[in-house]
Subunit: 228 residues, 2 copies
């Protein structure tokens, strides 16, 4: 049986790896990675390739969106803005916000999906740990599906799938383990490339997720504060 094709956004992090693990159950995967000039891009691309190798994915696209560095407004891409220390009690729109990032990502994914005939786009957005990002909410993804319907060929039908949207990080860790996702191959740290820093928002959320499940995160950290 031939599975339908799906474009899967794979940054190389935990969430996108688990999203891929969900998607490959029912879809032939095409992996899309964005290089938007973040400090840890090299390490993330290495993780992307490792995860793609794990799933035997031959359709891979790496899109260069480094104009985000020029647009700035984000500590991920602007060397002048330091990456924030985690404050899990007080998540507002963080300094790592790249304005309208998911719209850019989904626009590229849609172009690729329409060309290849993919019928779905999977993105590992999570509302809980990105409550401040306006483009990480269900209503945004719904609006984007409507935009696809308006902006593509009449016969094109592309759905946006966000299987992790309402999951907590602990639930994502559990789902990844259950699905046999290669979590040891992922990279989430916004700050470092050799050992994860353990202190940026992304590390803190990830570590807390594993700690609450009671499973050791298989990647290497410089520090492992207790975030429970």
């Amino acid at each position: 049986m031939t599975l339908p094709l799906a474009v899967i956004l794979v940054s190389g992090g935990l969430d996108s790896c688990v999203t891929a693990a969900v998607a490959v159950q029912n879809f032939e995967p095409a992996f899309l990675h964005l290089n938007y000039g973040q400090k840890t891009e090299k390490r993330e691309l290495q993780a992307f390739d490792a995860i793609a190798g794990h799933y035997g994915v031959s359709r891979r696209l790496i899109a260069d969106v480094r104009h985000f560095s020029q647009i700035g407004g984000s500590s991920l891409t602007d060397p002048g803005i330091p990456v924030s220390r985690a404050d899990l009690q007080n998540l507002s729109i963080p300094s790592s916000y790249v304005p309208f990032r998911n719209a850019n990502i989904l626009a590229i994914a849609t172009s690729w999906a329409e060309t290849t005939g993919a019928e779905s786009i999977f993105i590992g957005a999570v509302e809980e740990d990105s409550s401040g990002y306006p483009d990480c909410r269900k209503e945004f993804f719904t609006a984007f599906e409507r935009l696809i319907a308006k902006g593509t060929r009449p016969e094109t039908r592309i759905r946006i799938k966000t299987p992790l949207l309402h999951m907590t990080k602990s639930e994502i860790v559990k789902a990844g383990i259950k699905l046999g996702a290669p979590l040891d191959l992922t990279w989430s740290c916004y700050q470092d490339e050799e050992q994860a820093c353990g202190e940026c928002d992304s590390c803190a959320l990830r570590l807390r997720g594993f700690q609450r499940v009671g499973v050791e995160d298989p990647i290497v950290y410089r520090k492992r504060p207790d975030y429970r």
Copy 2:
């Protein structure tokens, strides 16, 4: 009086030049150019810089979207697909279609607009000469405005302005002349970079526009067929 800021998409072609001429009447311009790997990019960028120089625009952003070449599906970016000869009687979705291109362009423009505080985005889309492009229609731009409202900070208000949308090419030529737009600095040909070919869809539509107005197009053509 300080004018509000607007991001203006400037490919370097006739339409974007006239769009800029409209915008600068009421806005401080920020010029955005996309390099999406088209055959004539070098010539278009030269036109972009010339038009920006004409209007004294210091805020310029050139975004690299060459992943369109990898996505393919278009004769503009895929060397394997020849550029069509013009058939102005029979415009369906042409082979120069880059799927969902305007969504990609507007997503970048929105990111830049939100970062810089621009309140409008000007794009020189024209329904008449792109009837086959689903992402060149009013309803698409309206859907995109709704997407911006959902996907940006709560206080952000960005409007999409399409002053040429319902104009014919002749009306655009007339408007450009009336506004003193530097039409001699523009480039529209999809095929060549030294002299415009005069035969691709873009040249044909442009030439027909000038011919119907009864004004000579100030740029150099290899051939000038009569398209009236």
